[in-house]
């Protein structure tokens, strides 16, 4: 079969980095948790 496997590495998250530098509170206050979402875009997709 045509299949592929990509190894992933667990790395230190931004949360852990910010927690260590005592900057997590600032981050949590200014960056509420959010998912990616798409707003309306009206430009011509064929302009490329």
């Amino acid at each position: 079969t045509l299949a592929s496997r990509i190894p992933l590495t667990r790395v230190k998250s931004m949360r852990e980095n910010l927690r260590e530098k005592d900057k997590l509170k600032d981050y949590l206050e200014s960056h509420p948790y959010n998912l990616a979402y798409k707003s309306d875009d009206s430009a011509d997709p064929d302009s490329a």
Binding site: I6, R10, N17, L24, H31, Y33
Partner: protein, 326 residues
Amino acid sequence: THFVPMRNYLDLAYVGIISIGTPPQEFKVIFDTGSSDLWVPSIYCSSPACATHNVFNPVRSSTCRISDRSIHLQYGSGMMSGFLAYDTVRFGGLVDVAQAFGLSLQEPGRFMEYAVFDGILGLAYPSLSLRGTIPVFDNLWKQGLISQEVFAFYLNKKEEEGSVVMFGGVDHSYYNGDLNWAPVSKQLYWQLSMDSISMNGEVIACNGGCQAIIDTGTSLLIGPPDVVLDIQKIIGANQSHSGEYLIDCDASNTLSDIVFTINGIDYPVPASAYIQEGPDSTCFSSFDSLRGSLLTADSWILGDVFLRLYFTVFDRANNRIGMAPA
């Protein structure tokens, strides 16, 4: 100009290597089922965050085509501005030709400097991607590079060992028993209907049903603020000065499983998973709140805490998600 708001990237923690261009330029990216676009920093980016990451140089790639289309990706209080380009993307032996991707010019906001990854490779549905572009997975399928329209994640708790994303097939050695399938309820995120969340046989959240998004780009278990606050009280977690919820580390030996029931199947999450050990013998709750989101009030996001327990197959051919104990 295309505006595409994005999540914060606080908890993204599993990275893989891809290359873009000819000859290839390497990047660490998050394989993210919660978004649909691919983007990396460019050599033209002047922000401090770009100085600490690998950047793409289109001039050095003979196969790169740059468009005049600008894109703006918003995250939290910051924004990534850039433009759209097309080039060959390689990973795991797959060669994805003429793939659309974003290149950043500016990444305002100092917080991205703390990100260990360079960019994001989105694996959600095309309806979430930049208009007129084809996401990476759709291109793999369209170009005949994979034989089955599926991909799957196995996430290991250990740092260097064994975590993997597989495209075009499922390796059965990564899970026990049979996969339990649940239909995708809305083809935007990898979203399905969840029956309930319970503890000791009592429903503690999602009473009467709710929506759950299976998201490799989220680390924690994210739910509505009021419901999550109730759960924090039930498990004895208290808010710290940083806004996180602290919990006695010993509770991981005494608290019961919290059971997520999806399509009639119970998926228990033990206390040892929903309590995370931090530095200095402090422990944190793995539950967090969904604030300021466009999602409806009864939506949950099941991130890596859940995915480390359950091997997950994302089946685009049948629009369903399969899960089994990892």
